[in-house]
């Protein structure tokens, strides 16, 4: 279970997230929607522990433990995973290197090489990209597939998924939706960030939150998704009287 409890986040002295509360239970999918720049990614970075995204108020609780002051690696080792919207390039460090390092450091898994190759095939990531620098010259879709592959291998208990579908083709989106539905069925909690409603036709969240200017401005059931798809964000905001 993930609890973002009345959290405010500052970046370079500027408040980018204000008093946000989100609760995602085990086996639950919660959608976080909102236009560009509404603070969704900042919230995800803060929950994962990016040092540049300071939690100045509130706390983050994972499975009953306050993780607000933990290092990103400590959060990861407790089962938290951030599916990056736009993962950074790391020259000279390939997915294979990364997983060998993970294996030496904290997660001993047999046969990493063959596992990587099987998983790459499963998510439709070209095999040669396993040996290129992380995200180096990857297309938008390839970056998403690389994130997807990492999620599959790390088997997290709680996923922060930041626009996992943008740049993916239809087949990719379907694969991803199947994955999200199945991990939720198996008991993981999923916070799904998107501002396109398309993925949410395949993954039906139990709750939907809408952010704007750093704050949650609307919340409701899945019917919000359909309304946003038809009438845009302003419709749900005004409907809720904000």
């Amino acid at each position: 279970m993930l609890l973002v409890d009345n959290v405010s986040v500052e970046v370079g002295g500027k408040l980018v997230v204000r008093d946000v509360t989100v609760e995602v239970g085990d086996g639950e999918i919660v959608a976080l929607m909102g236009p560009n720049g509404s603070g969704k990614t900042s919230l995800a970075y803060a929950v994962m522990g990016h040092p540049g995204y300071r939690v100045v108020k509130g706390r983050v609780v994972l499975n009953g433990e306050d993780i607000t002051n933990l290092q990103p690696y400590e959060r990861a080792r407790r089962g938290l995973f951030l599916f990056f919207q736009n993962p950074v390039e790391v020259k000279g460090v390939s997915l294979r290197d990364l997983f060998k390092a993970i294996n030496t450091s904290w997660r001993q898994v047999e046969g990493v090489d063959s596992l990587l190759e099987e998983t790459a095939a499963k998510v439709g990531l070209k095999r040669e990209l396993l040996d290129r620098g992380l995200n180096e010259g990857f297309s938008g879709g390839e970056k998403k597939r690389s994130e997807f592959l990492q999620a599959l291998l790390l088997k997290p208990k709680c996923l922060l998924m930041d626009e996992p579908d943008s740049g993916l083709d239809l087949e990719g989106v379907r694969l991803l939706a199947d994955y999200i539905n199945s991990v939720a069925r198996e008991g993981a909690c999923v916070l799904l960030i998107t501002h396109y409603p398309s993925l949410l036709q395949l993954v039906r969240p139990s709750r939907v939150l809408v952010m704007r200017n750093g704050a949650v401005v609307a919340s409701g059931g899945v019917e919000l998704v359909d309304k946003i798809a038809r009438e845009g964000y302003s419709s749900v905001v005004s409907h809720n009287g904000l």
Binding site: P72, Y73, L82, S105, Q150
Partner: protein, 467 residues
């Protein structure tokens, strides 16, 4: 010798900023130089060479290009020549136990037993172990301490010694020739391909000491040799000074690879003068792993003197902490269709400074020559710096000269990304560093690649503290 490379070292360095010039104080007395020569029972020509070099040293201007060295006081280097109280041995068990133990800690007896064809170790100013395997002897390869070569092969030594790197090049070269002691002479006969590397290992055991070893490698026509140079010193309280020299003469169609793994302790000011001449169709390779020392100044250089000669330099330097690496490769294309390739990588962290100072010169008439230089640096934090001063002298239009330089600054976003996958900060940094050096390690002999990889890992193990 029909070529003149006098003055290059200083000429190319104009225009580079400096705060203050090096001041070399203190004197090297004529009587000390005479004493060194006498104790080595040198022939007259060598004694005269030393004294001429000394005169040049006294008159030569101090180098102007090293802004970070304000002063080198030779009077403070109390021992410019130290003969250890050890007889030269060819069997480890003949060495005094305390000396043998130093080498055992460095893994040298094992390396010699496993994969070296020959090994010379220099302790302070003199060779103390010279091992040459029988097959190397049967191939007619000569590998002896430099002093012994002066006695036993005077004609051969006279023909090459100080011809590749004359003492008139710069002040430190002159100082080196006045005081040289220790080092190894290797001669590979025509057509002989030495199947295993030979190694020379230099150990500086005392503080306020100078080491001025001289190595000379002559590869006759069509021969092949891999030479490994290792350097180490214990952590001393005060500085010591290393001003060694390597001269390589590669005859037509020969191949010489010279691999250096420099891991001096942090008190050593290291000047390493390295130059090769490559004749027609010859190939000279420099590999330099520059890990230790307080300050290192070294520019492995090749004069491509014969048509079709080639050279490749692969340099890796690490400045972790307030240490300085001033390195680079210099190539002079002096004949048609010669080619050179330089790959330099440097890593700076915790206030380290790295300078790439390279030279590519294509002489008039060296038509169809090609040169490619690639410099990359990885900067791990804001306190550290990296500078590139590539110099190109293009005197021939019909030549293809390229230079690429890039700087990678480790970003907090990269570290965060890797940490979000469960890696601690130091593990994340290590991963980036290893990725950065990988293509250099790939060019090294296996033993050295794995050793260097371990050194690099250890160097950054504690980087950024835990987590």
């Amino acid at each position: 010798m029909g070529f003149d490379i006098r003055g290059f070292e200083l000429e190319e360095l104009t225009g580079v900023e400096y705060r203050s010039r090096v001041e070399i104080t203190g004197r090297v007395s004529r009587s000390l130089v005479e004493e060194i020569s006498r104790s080595k029972k040198e022939p007259e020509w060598m004694r005269r060479l030393r004294l001429r070099a000394l005169e040049y040293f006294e008159e030569a201007p101090a180098p102007q290009w090293l802004p970070y060295i304000q002063r080198i006081d030779l009077d403070e280097i109390t021992t410019l020549y130290t003969k250890p109280d050890v007889e030269v041995a060819s069997d480890w068990s003949d060495l005094p136990e305390e000396v043998r133990r130093i080498y055992e800690r460095l893994g040298l007896p094992e390396a010699y037993a496993r994969y070296l064809a020959g090994l010379t170790t220099v302790l302070d100013s003199e060779s103390v172990f010279v091992g040459v395997k029988d097959f190397l002897r049967r191939l007619g390869v000569v590998m002896v301490p430099m002093e012994e070569a002066v006695q036993k092969y005077p004609d051969l030594v006279k023909k090459y010694f100080s011809r590749v790197f004359p003492y008139t090049d710069h002040k430190f070269a002159a100082l080196h020739y006045a005081l040289w002691s220790g080092g190894v002479f290797v001669y590979v006969p025509r057509g002989v391909r030495v199947p295993y590397p030979v190694e020379a290992f230099f150990f500086l055991g005392r503080e306020m000491e100078g080491q001025f070893e001289h190595s000379l490698i002559v590869a006759d026509e069509g021969s092949e040799l891999v030479f490994i140079e290792g350097c180490s010193a214990p952590r001393l309280r005060r500085e010591s000074f290393h001003d060694g020299m390597v001269e390589i003469y590669a005859h037509p169609s020969s191949r010489v690879s010279f691999v250096t793994v420099q891991n001096w302790s942090r008190n050593i000011i290291n000047f390493n003068n390295k130059r090769a001449v490559a004749e027609e169709g010859a190939f000279v390779e420099w590999v330099e792993g520059s890990i230790g020392s307080k300050i290192t100044v070294t520019y492995p250089s090749t004069v491509l003197r014969g048509e079709g000669a080639k050279t490749v330099s692969t340099l890796l330097s690490i400045s972790n902490g307030g240490y300085i690496k001033d390195t680079g490769s210099k190539v002079i294309h002096a004949a048609p269709r010669t080619s050179s390739r330089v790959l330099s990588k440097s890593i700076v962290a915790n206030g380290g400074l790295s300078v790439y100072r390279g030279l590519t010169q294509v002489n008039k008439g060296a038509v169809g020559s090609a040169s490619h230089v690639e410099c990359e640096s990885l900067i791990l934090d804001e306190k550290s710096g990296s500078y590139t001063y590539p110099i190109v002298h293009l005197l021939e239009r019909d030549a293809d000269v390229g230079h690429e330089a890039s700087t990678l600054r480790l970003s907090e976003d990269q570290v965060f990304y890797l940490m979000s996958r469960g890696l601690k900060r130091n593990e994340a940094v290590s991963l980036v560093v290893n990725g950065f050096v990988r293509d250099v390690l790939r060019k090294l002999p296996f033993e050295f690649a794995s050793m260097l990889k371990r050194v690099v890992e250890l160097e950054f193990e504690e980087y950024g503290g835990v987590g």
